[in-house]
């Protein structure tokens, strides 16, 4: 501070400290609401604090974790895990492909292609897409078990249904956001809607659709790994089976396989996407 001027006025102006809570302040109300929500959640849940904040809990957790070692790596079991992992991978891939096809089929009526397009199906299709998307894969799988029976098919269909909701919406947004020039050029020549779609719309959005689909595939591998917990096949089914029987060494192998698979897919998908966006 320079010394030429006094630091403070001779008579300080009388100032109230700023109020901590101002009835007109939206952020204050929001903070209060947030605090109430958090406190109410903790209070009403009847959480078993002792179960995870005591020495005893730590010891039982440690015992539980220690049982995981050593993982069962006998060739017979590993080959079973590998085949389950392949099943999971196949479920996710097939589910994603089906979802991409179904999503594309639903995205066409759900998007307004040109200004002249009345798109009367737009809202009902979007409602359908939202409904498909709102129900998680696991709930779809549990529902589909009733008609498809236990096994990977229920899981595949569940992934396909949920993902088609997600992808359909993304595809529809992508199609509505492209430049309309090429499509209009074809339309003014009297080309029908199907060929406009195939030769103008699709080539423009295809890289984006591919990238969305790959991204969802990555998510779906994670999802497919756990879908089996309700009995829909793959690694998850093996996991819940072995964990139910407290075969912890086998469980550890399965968990390791899950982690490895997810990591591999992350790397692969990252590389592929970079290659596509190059």
């Amino acid at each position: 501070m320079s010394t030429a001027f006094p630091r403070e006025a001779a008579n300080l102006p009388y100032k109230l400290p700023p109020p901590l809570f101002d009835a007109r302040c939206r952020a204050c109300w929001f903070t209060v609401a947030l605090l109430v929500l958090v406190i109410a959640s903790f209070v009403t849940l009847e959480l078993d604090w002792a179960a995870f904040a005591s020495l005893e809990a730590g010891r039982s957790m440690y015992r539980f974790m220690a049982e995981f070692f050593p993982p069962d790596v006998s060739p017979k079991f590993v080959s079973k895990v590998v085949s389950a992992a392949w099943e999971t991978l196949a479920m996710s891939a097939l589910g994603t492909v089906m979802a991409a096809v179904l999503g594309l089929a639903l995205a066409v009526p759900a998007s307004r292609m040109s200004k002249q397009d009345s798109a009367w199906l737009r809202s009902p299709t979007r409602w359908l897409l939202n409904a498909l998307r709102a129900i998680p894969e696991l709930v779809w799988a549990a529902l589909l078990l009733i008609s498809a029976g236990l096994g990977p098919m229920a899981g595949t269909l569940a992934l396909a249904l949920h993902t088609s909701g997600v992808l359909g919406r993304l595809f529809a947004e992508a199609m509505e956001n492209i430049p309309t020039g090429p499509g209009d050029a074809l339309r003014t020549q009297g080309v029908g809607p199907l060929r406009v779609f195939a030769f103008a719309t699709l080539p423009q959005v295809l890289p984006q659709l591919m990238s969305y689909t790959l991204y969802r595939w990555e998510n779906n591998i994670r999802a497919a790994a756990v879908l089996g917990v309700v009995g829909a096949g793959g690694l998850g089914q093996m996991l819940s089976f072995n964990m139910g029987l407290f075969l912890m060494n086998k469980t550890a192998t399965i968990l390791g396989a899950m982690l490895l698979m997810v990591a591999c897919v992350d790397v692969l998908s990252f590389t592929l996407r970079r290659w596509l966006n190059r």
């Binding site: 903790f42 849940l45 179960a51 129900i135 998680p136 709930v139 899981g155 309700v230």
Partner: protein, 284 residues
């Protein structure tokens, strides 16, 4: 795609025009079908099974029992209680996740390293950062459902397992993304503070946090919305909430209850979706 508009005279031959991309389309389509075949075999994908008389009857009976919806007072009270429990599990889980994510993201963020200000980071801090990052990645790559399965064994059935599962998975996700957010933006103010001798926590509170607050808050709100969705799923392994009721009703083939619960769930997701969208708009 032909770029040149056709002269009128050629339009007569429009039917005979060749698709210039024909061979490549056929090639890719057949390649795709060939790849899909083993996948179909591996997943025992036989959709016609759905249409076999037995299955068809079961499915149609189940679907028919969706109507009328069950809506007696006792059931609706139960639904309301479980809905709140689902929201509470998500909220408590995300709160605990924040307790985990904030310190870890501070440890993992490269921007807050003093030694990195002048060239390379020292060896030990770099190792610690790397370890924290690896922990976050492991935490988030184990799905919450698996965490829940583990915790149900350790702490027993009930919301505690669900809250812990959400806390660990979302702690990993939030921590990793927070660290990425810290490193993505403008780091000038932070570095200036640290170069002039402020502590790392001071630099965080006065420079890094204010410049990224909106982004952090909006991502957290988005994750809270995701946590509501996943807390329903966690109910399926016995963590309480709507999911557990849904599972019970499905196992008893009580279509009316299933339909009500699904509708309530969809409404809950829609409300969380719009609340989160509104909050994120207000934040930006």
């Amino acid at each position: 795609m032909s770029a040149n508009p056709l002269p009128q005279a050629q339009l007569a031959f429009a039917g005979k025009l060749r698709d210039p991309d024909f061979s490549s389309r056929v090639f890719w389509l057949s390649l795709a079908l060939l790849t899909l075949w083993p996948l179909g075999v591996a997943t025992e994908f036989r959709p016609w099974v759905l249409w076999e008389p037995d299955n068809r009857k079961v499915t149609l009976d189940f679907l028919a029992s969706f109507w009328p919806l069950v809506h007696d007072a006792e059931f609706m009270r139960m639904v309301a209680r479980e809905t709140w429990r689902t929201v509470a599990m998500a909220t408590a889980g995300v709160t605990l996740a924040l307790l985990l994510a904030v310190p870890m993201s501070l440890m993992a963020a490269r921007v807050l390293s003093l030694s990195a200000l002048s060239g390379r980071m020292n060896r030990w801090p770099a190792l610690v950062r790397w370890c924290v990052r690896a922990t976050l990645i492991v935490l988030r790559s184990i799905p919450e459902l698996v965490w829940a399965l583990v915790f149900v064994r350790v702490v027993g059935l009930g919301p505690t397992a669900g809250v812990l599962a959400i806390a660990l998975t979302y702690g990993g996700m939030l921590g990793k993304v927070y660290a990425e957010i810290f490193e993505s933006g403008e780091s000038h103010a932070t570095h200036t503070l640290m170069r002039n001798g402020s502590g790392r926590l001071q630099a965080f509170v006065y420079a890094l946090l204010p410049s990224h607050a909106a982004e952090l808050a909006s991502y957290t709100v988005y994750r809270w919305e995701c946590a509501i969705r996943s807390s329903v799923v966690l109910g399926f392994v016995g963590a309480g909430g709507l999911g557990q009721q849904l599972d019970n009703s499905m196992k008893m083939f009580n279509g009316g209850e299933v339909a009500t619960l699904l509708l309530v769930f969809m409404a809950l997701v829609a409300i969380a979706d719009s609340v989160s969208a509104w909050l994120r708009r207000a934040l930006s």
